[in-house]
């Protein structure tokens, strides 16, 4: 499966996106770590869907957009993107920060989402189970939080990276600042922008997918999402961490199919 990189323009931004596959339209919203055309979850979803995966500002080699500052801005921006793609009531699939945005989209416009798949979404906070401060983690600390198997995860994260090359390092720092700078608008310092008081508005049929080894947003949050969204089903995946998209991508495809 090959994905084409295309782009569309909203009022605020030029938005690159990946498009591929055949079937019912599905919009995939990536997490704070970004997205590549080689992402296995995209390929699996594209077997049965027309997949559109837009990049948030700051991701996909774009500049951050200063005019987009808060949760409402990014929620409406993402609706602008769906509109720009010419889609009506698509399936929304969002991972982590993308799941938070997808949940917000479904809460502000409940009639415009046909089905909703939230993969380890951010957006809630429990004092008794605080989420680690991902913004102060050093790169070498990340795999331990993101993967069921941190060693294999570390290999995935660093494959092809030339951290000894100063030019590469510079580009890496710039990309990280762009991406995580944008993510900070929704997630820093605590990834809670009031979603809990809006989740009741979601009427789309919803599946929540959670890796049982998620040490970034622990599985207790999956149950909290399930309890807050009427009729939502929770699928808990063994031997997967926060990056369930990389460790068990088939589970996400199955969750989407379960809503068909």
């Amino acid at each position: 499966m090959t994905f084409q990189r295309k782009s569309l323009a909203t009022r605020h931004a030029v938005v690159p996106y990946l498009e591929g596959g055949e079937g019912e339209p599905l919009v995939f919203l990536h997490g704070a770590g970004g997205l590549t055309a080689e992402d296995p979850v995209l390929a699996l979803l594209a077997r049965s869907h027309r997949v559109f995966a837009p990049y948030l500002p700051g991701y996909g080699e774009t500049e951050d957009v200063i005019a987009l500052r808060d949760m409402l801005d990014y929620t409406l921006h993402s609706w602008d993107v769906v509109g720009g793609l010419g889609l009506k009531a698509p399936i929304l699939v969002g991972h982590s920060m993308g799941g938070m945005i997808a949940a917000e989209m479904a809460a502000v416009a409940p009639n415009d989402v046909s089905r909703l798949v939230l993969v380890a979404p951010a957006g809630l906070w429990r004092d008794e189970t605080p989420i680690p401060d991902m913004f102060s983690l050093m790169p070498y600390e990340m795999p331990g939080y993101l993967f069921h198997d941190p060693e294999a995860g570390a290999r995935l994260m660093t494959a092809g990276l030339k951290m000894d090359d100063p030019k590469f390092l510079q580009d890496y720092l710039v990309r990280n600042a762009r991406q995580m700078g944008m993510a900070g608008k929704l997630l820093f310092p605590i990834p809670d922008r009031g979603l809990s008081q809006r989740l009741y508005r979601i009427t789309a049929r919803t599946v929540i997918v959670w890796g049982m080894s998620d040490r970034l947003i622990p599985p207790v949050y999956g149950r909290a999402f399930r309890d807050a969204i009427a009729g939502a089903r929770l699928v808990e995946i063994e031997q997967a961490g926060h990056m369930v998209t990389l460790e068990k991508p088939a589970a996400i495809a199955e969750a989407v199919m379960s809503l068909a």
């Binding site: 102060s136 600042a177 820093f188």
Partner: protein
């Protein structure tokens, strides 16, 4: 030249194994290492030293703002400055500064700085740092990518509050205020001089140049390593067609230790310098630079945060490393004079923030070093920038006639009327 005696106010009782046992001196420093009872004497000694510097003839005495920080127990510099305003006579009060994005609403800074200016008789030099990532983002929760916009708005609000004479409405993105009308307002007109501490951001260079503010580089790594950064600033001054390149457009912080001889300096001060550089600066690198805090343009210049770990990892720095590398200017008055001259000419700076109290240095040694600097070094550096001595744009203008604190008259005594 303007010499400001500066005290970061380090906690002097960090344990010997601090670096081994603790991950950071800042943000999540172990609460149990602070002893409030001991801090009573520490604070009072530090304030005494600042007051002592006034009697030695330093042009200014300096304080700054840090939060949750083992080498700066001064989350509110204005509280310290208020005490100093009463107990000092001549020195400028250099508050370097208030992290204006952290005050809600920022008119609080306009008000408190106005109070300091009024109480001190116009001796305030105001500093507006963006704030470090540790303070601003990790301790005070500001969203990194929005910090600069919030800072810029706070700056505009404060300047308007200081300079407009009628109440106005301020419809900012971060501040909605119907009636801005500060009371009191500062003595100095149109407002106190402003210094902006920066760490190499191009945006901060431009902000200083465009507003005629002094750019201060508050580095701990000394004048030799500062060369490239300060040259970047002066190149920018030229490129932006500033009307002049007055050295008072810039300031630099330098750790300085003076003794009778070079050998005595090492004997007296090495342990305290070691305490500061090898214990106090132990910042967890994950806190150095929240993504989005520095602009892309700045990262592309290749400047790294001064709190980022040095290339090749962090090693214990010896007295020799620190003095030869210029982190610390130390030695006899003549050695210090020579190196200070190199600093002033090399960086073209008119303001020196003299870090004369270092780490866990006790008061008596600090006084000895400060007195030698004031008497044997400072006078010989004063003539270095004669052509710019009249440049008053970046320094305070105190009232000529100032009140003397503690001079109340006798209480009013009613005359007893004679019984009829």
């Amino acid at each position: 030249m303007k010499f400001t005696w500066f005290n970061l106010m380090p906690w002097p009782y960090l344990p010997d194994d601090f670096r081994q046992k603790h991950r950071s001196v800042w943000v999540d420093i172990d609460q149990r290492l602070f002893d409030p009872v001991r801090s009573h004497a520490v604070y009072n000694t530090y304030m005494d030293l600042l007051e002592y510097a006034d009697t030695l003839g330093f042009d200014g005495i300096g304080v700054n703002e840090h939060h949750q920080n083992g080498y700066g127990i001064m989350p509110s510099p204005n509280i310290i400055a208020a005490g100093l305003a009463r107990r000092t006579k001549n020195a400028a009060l250099v508050v370097l500064g208030n992290s204006i994005a952290l005050y809600n609403p920022p008119v609080r800074v306009a008000e408190e700085f106005a109070m300091l200016d009024c109480i001190s008789g116009g001796r305030l030099v105001a500093g507006f740092p963006v704030g470090t990532s540790m303070d601003t983002n990790y301790c005070y929760g500001q969203i990194p990518a929005l910090t600069r916009e919030k800072y810029a708005e706070a700056h505009d609000l404060i300047i308007r509050a200081w300079t407009e004479r009628d109440p106005f409405a301020f419809n900012g993105r971060y501040n909605k205020l119907r009636h801005v009308n500060i009371w009191p307002r500062p003595i100095q007109q149109p407002h106190p001089p402003i210094h902006i501490p920066g760490g190499g951001s191009v945006e901060t260079y431009d902000f200083c140049i465009d507003n005629t503010y002094s750019y201060s580089y508050l580095s701990f790594s000394g004048y030799i390593r500062a060369k490239a950064l300060m040259q970047g600033y002066w190149d920018r001054v030229a490129a932006r067609n500033a009307p002049d390149a007055s050295p008072y457009r810039a300031g630099f912080a330098q750790t300085i230790c003076v003794a009778e001889t070079d050998a005595e300096a090492e004997r007296l001060y090495a342990e305290h310098v070691h305490y500061f550089y090898n214990r106090c600066l132990h910042v967890y690198p994950g806190f150095a630079d929240a993504p989005g805090y520095r602009t892309i343009k700045t990262i592309q210049t290749g400047a790294l945060s001064q709190y980022a770990p040095p290339r090749g990892g962090y090693a214990e720095l010896s007295w020799k490393d620190l003095t030869e590398g210029g982190h610390v200017i130390a030695g006899s008055p003549e050695t210090v004079r020579q190196r200070m001259e190199e600093l002033i000419k090399g960086l073209n700076v008119g303001h020196i923030f003299c870090l004369m109290h270092v780490g866990n240095m006790p008061a008596d040694k600090c006084m000895y070093s400060s007195k030698l600097f004031a008497e044997k070094v400072m006078p010989r550096l004063r003539g270095l920038l004669p052509e710019c001595d009249g440049d008053g744009r970046f320094w305070c203008h105190p009232l000529q006639a100032r009140a003397t604190p503690g001079t109340l008259p006798q209480p009013y005594a009613p005359r007893l009327s004679q019984p009829a």
